[in-house]
Every structure is written in structure tokens, then in C-alpha cells.
């Protein structure tokens, strides 16, 4: 427990310590300009907004697919061979390095004739999020005792009604956790969007144009030879951490009421 808490705190402290001198309001309110990477004026608003677009798009797609899939695995196909195979495949996909998703997405995009774009990035991140979400939700749903679902079936409920009203509600904390896990991985992932989303200094206005992102902003800034720009990379990293932390806290608060109905 101490080690876990200690490592979280030390990461925060190191990033904050090295990035603090570069943290400023203009960083959050301005987009990058040509000279930004040489140490001139500007901010990373383009990357913050870009990451928000990318991750919210990808998460919306991933949740839409994951929730029905996890419910299906549990309510309809719980111990079938197909379900076992699906779970194993998802576990493998979970551990696939994200660069593979990037390259895969890029190949598909080339085939479809789409360039590096918001749409491409969303697709690659959705692929990255899917196995995490499905398996996390699935594991929590599997722990729901049969007795609870039985009491729904005993009233004459169908599998669909039981999945929606009982399994999904009871698994709500786990569903939230699954979404958060996936969002955390996606928002910090650079490799999968390197080719698929590209990078730009402006805020994207179209699904088909390139888009900036926080992890790539960190990556590019760290790659410059200028100490003040590297400092900004740490500051950007700190912003990324703060976003992930606040998402985690916000989701907990938002689902608190619904979670109170869960049977212990």
C-alpha cells in the first residue's frame, strides 16, 4: 500500500518539480506556434483539446461495444467454449503493444485512403481501449452471484431484462473502473496515435484533419535540445496526470448515487 501510494506521489513530485517553472496560464490557453518548440511564446491548448477529442471519441465507441459484449459474455454465453475463446483473445489483445494498434490502424487507413486524422486516431485508440474495457467489465460481472440473477429470472424476466436491470446495475462500479482503466491507458498513449492522428499546432475542426495530443506533445518537447522546452514537456506531463486524476475522482462522484444501490 505504501509502495503504491509512494510511487504515485513520487511520480507526481518529480514531474511537478521539473515542470513547475514552465507551468503557466498561457500554456493552457494558447496553442503552439512555430517558435514554441524553440522556446518562444505559446501553449499546448491544441494538445489538450486534441487529446480530449481523441479520447472522448474513442471511449464513446469503446463503451458502446464493450458493455453489450461483456453482458453477452456473462448472461448468454457464460461458460461456452466461444466465451472462453473470446476471453483468451481479449487477454492477448490487452497485452498487444500500442504501436501495433497504431500500425494496424495506419494500414487500414492507407487502404481506405484516409490520412493521419482525428478519425484515424479515434479508431486506433478505440481498438486499444476495447480489450481493457471488455475484460475489466467481464471480470466484475463474473463475480456477481448467481443468486442475484436468479431472483430476477424467478420473476419471469428474460435474459435481456436481467442483463440490463440486474447485471449492469450491480456491476456499475466495475463498469466505471473498466472505463477509467481504458481512458487512462488511451489518454497517455503516444505510439498508437503517432501515425494515425498525426500532429498539428492548431485545434482540429474536422474529423479528417490531423490532431495534436498530450502524450505526443510531451514526446516532441522532450526531443528538442532546449532545456526550457524540455521543462515544458514535464509541465505538459503534469497536466496530463492532473486530467487523469480528476477524471478518476469525478467519475467516482458522479456514479456515487447509482452505486449506492449495489448489493454488498
Amino acid at each position: 500500500m505504501l509502495i503504491v501510494l509512494g510511487s504515485l506521489v513520487s511520480v507526481l513530485v518529480v514531474v511537478l518539480f521539473r515542470g513547475a517553472p514552465a507551468l503557466s496560464v498561457s500554456m493552457l490557453t494558447q496553442t503552439s506556434t512555430g517558435g514554441y518548440y524553440l522556446g518562444k511564446e505559446g501553449g499546448i491548448l491544441n494538445a489538450i483539446v486534441g487529446s480530449a477529442y481523441l479520447v472522448s471519441g474513442a471511449t464513446a465507441i469503446a463503451v458502446t461495444i464493450s458493455l453489450p459484449t461483456a453482458l453477452y459474455l456473462n448472461e448468454y454465453a457464460s461458460r461456452s467454449k466461444l466465451a472462453g475463446f473470446a476471453r483468451q483473445s481479449l487477454d492477448v489483445l490487452w497485452s498487444v503493444p500500442s504501436i501495433i494498434y497504431g500500425v494496424f490502424g495506419f494500414t487500414i487507413m492507407v487502404y481506405l485512403g484516409i490520412g493521419a486524422s482525428l478519425l484515424g486516431g479515434i479508431m486506433a485508440l478505440a481498438l486499444l481501449e476495447l480489450p481493457i474495457m471488455i475484460r475489466a467489465m467481464d471480470e466484475v460481472m463474473r463475480m456477481i452471484p448467481l443468486k442475484l440473477r436468479e431472483s430476477s429470472y424467478a420473476l419471469g424476466a428474460t435474459k435481456f431484462e436481467t442483463a440490463l436491470n440486474v447485471t449492469a446495475r450491480q456491476a456499475l462500479p466495475g463498469i466505471t473502473m473498466g472505463v477509467l482503466l481504458a481512458v487512462g491507458r488511451a489518454i497517455g498513449d503516444a505510439a498508437s496515435i503517432l501515425f494515425t492522428a498525426g500532429y498539428t499546432d492548431s485545434i482540429p475542426r474536422s474529423l479528417f484533419g490531423p490532431v495534436a495530443s498530450l502524450p505526443l506533445a510531451v514526446f516532441f518537447q522532450l526531443g528538442t535540445p532546449f532545456p526550457e522546452v524540455q521543462q515544458r514537456a514535464y509541465a505538459s506531463g503534469f497536466i496530463l496526470l492532473v486530467i487523469v486524476l480528476s477524471l478518476s475522482i469525478a467519475s467516482r462522484l458522479l456514479t456515487r448515487r447509482a452505486t449506492s444501490y449495489v448489493i454488498k
Binding site: A154, L155, E161, S260, I263
Partner: protein, 257 residues
């Protein structure tokens, strides 16, 4: 002159056999369950009481690796027939489980859940059903001002009465009770018992227990299961005072349990 009418058979079980992963769990059970009476199934743990109950409303379907043969006629319809409308059968047979298992929703929604899935969506109608069922389960006065609270906040005894109300809300004809008082304190258990006793006017009740005194208090008919076999069944007084089978006699005298 008082004429005793023989109660009508509501459910009749014919040559029911259940195999579970190679084990013969229920062996050739043949049994008639009378309408609007309390039939109590007794027997030591693991003798197949719960399995028998689960065959009546086909909840046995949820268990993997089970094979069921024989017939269970419910108002003349074979429940075990694959063509039968299982959802309708389950709607007509309410279940009170061993441990209280409220659904992950509010007190109100727990009771309204059943009627809702069967198509009642009118709020006023639902309000009436919820109030009536909670009253019959004699928990209305305790929860009337906190219907929106999570059901999980109730005590175990209250939860079990809520489960009774939930079962009644879909207007079943039969109540299947699987040791519904075994996880409760004596006072809550007494509540449930008295309510079930009052409910037999309107419902056919099948009650599983391993408490002999409870069986004697509640039962009109007693069925004794032992190692998956139906040893003996009959009216309560006969079963407790003049059992035919030596195994019944031994069990009732407490020689094993």
C-alpha cells in the same frame, strides 16, 4: 354437517429424475402438491430439496450440466416441456430464496420490477401494486417513507419481507420457499412464517426446510426426501405421529439430520 372437501392437485410431479454431472440427484420422484395448502419438503442437507424446488419453476435451467427427465404438470401443462413458455411459468410461481436477495435498486423498484417487465408501466397502477404488496408482506409501515432508498440498506429480516412483496407483485399462484427463514433472526423468521401461513388462503405454498418444528407448525402436507429419494409423504399429523417408513421415523425422532 361439515363436509371436508379434498383439495385439488395444483402441481403433480411424475417420475422426476435429475442427473448432475453423473450424479443421480433426484430419483423417480412422484408427488402431488395440493392447491392452497402448505406442502413442506423436509430432509437432511443435500437430499435434493432445493433441486426439486428448482425443477418446478425451471430455474434448474440456469445450472450447467444438469439433465432432467420426467414430468411436472402445473395445471395440466408440463413445465419441463421445452416448448412451454418458461417466463410465464416463472411469473406464476414466486420464489423466496434462502438468503434475502434484493435487487440492486430502490425499495420501490424492487417491488415494481416484476410488474414492469410484464408490461405495467402506469405510475399510479405501480404505486398501488407496490403499496398493496408491501402491506401484505407487512413491511409497508417500516418503509413507506423511504421507498427511494436502496434495498440493501434494509435489515436482513426486512429484506426477506421485501422479497416476499416482490414475489407477490407479479400475482403468482404458487409460492416456492427455499428455507426462507434460515438466514434470519427468530423474530424476523416468525414474521415471515405468520405471513406465509396467512397467505395459504390464496396461494399454493411449497416450503423447503430442515427444521422439523417449523415443518410441524406450518405444514398441511409433509414430504420427506432422503438421498434423492422420496421416502414418504402425507398429512402432517400422520407423518409426525405414525410414519410408515423406518427412515422417516428415525429422522423425525432426530436420529440423524
Amino acid at each position: 354437517m361439515k363436509v371436508e372437501r379434498l383439495p385439488k392437485t395444483h402441481i403433480s410431479v411424475e417420475k422426476l429424475n435429475v442427473f448432475y454431472e453423473g450424479h443421480h440427484v433426484l430419483k423417480d420422484i412422484t408427488l402431488e402438491i395440493p392447491e392452497k395448502q402448505i406442502t413442506v419438503i423436509i430432509g437432511p442437507s443435500g437430499c435434493g430439496k432445493t433441486t426439486l424446488l428448482k425443477c418446478l419453476d425451471r430455474l434448474i435451467d440456469l445450472v450447467d450440466g444438469v439433465e432432467v427427465t420426467g414430468r411436472v404438470l402445473f395445471d395440466g401443462v408440463d413445465v419441463l416441456d421445452k416448448q412451454v413458455d418458461v417466463l410465464n411459468i416463472r411469473k406464476r410461481m414466486g420464489l423466496i430464496a434462502q438468503t434475502p436477495n434484493p435487487l440492486p435498486m430502490s425499495i420501490y423498484d424492487n417491488v415494481a420490477y416484476g410488474p414492469r417487465i410484464h408490461g405495467t408501466n402506469n405510475r399510479r397502477e405501480l404505486d398501488q401494486i407496490v403499496e398493496r404488496c408491501l402491506q401484505v408482506a407487512s413491511i409497508w409501515n417500516e418503509v413507506r417513507n423511504r421507498l427511494d432508498e436502496p434495498a440493501s440498506k434494509l435489515s436482513a429480516g426486512q429484506q426477506q419481507r421485501l422479497c416476499l412483496a416482490r414475489a407477490l407483485a407479479v400475482r403468482p399462484e404458487v409460492l416456492l420457499c427455499d428455507e426462507p427463514t434460515s438466514a434470519l433472526d427468530p423474530i424476523s423468521a416468525g414474521h415471515i412464517e405468520r405471513q406465509l401461513f396467512a397467505l395459504k388462503q390464496d396461494y399454493t405454498i411449497v416450503f423447503v426446510t430442515h427444521t422439523l418444528r417449523q415443518a410441524r407448525r406450518l405444514a398441511d402436507y409433509v414430504v420427506f426426501l432422503y438421498l434423492g429419494q422420496l421416502v414418504e409423504h402425507g398429512p402432517t399429523e400422520t407423518m409426525f405421529t405414525q410414519p410408515n417408513d423406518p427412515r422417516t421415523k428415525a429422522y423425525i425422532e432426530g436420529a440423524f439430520g
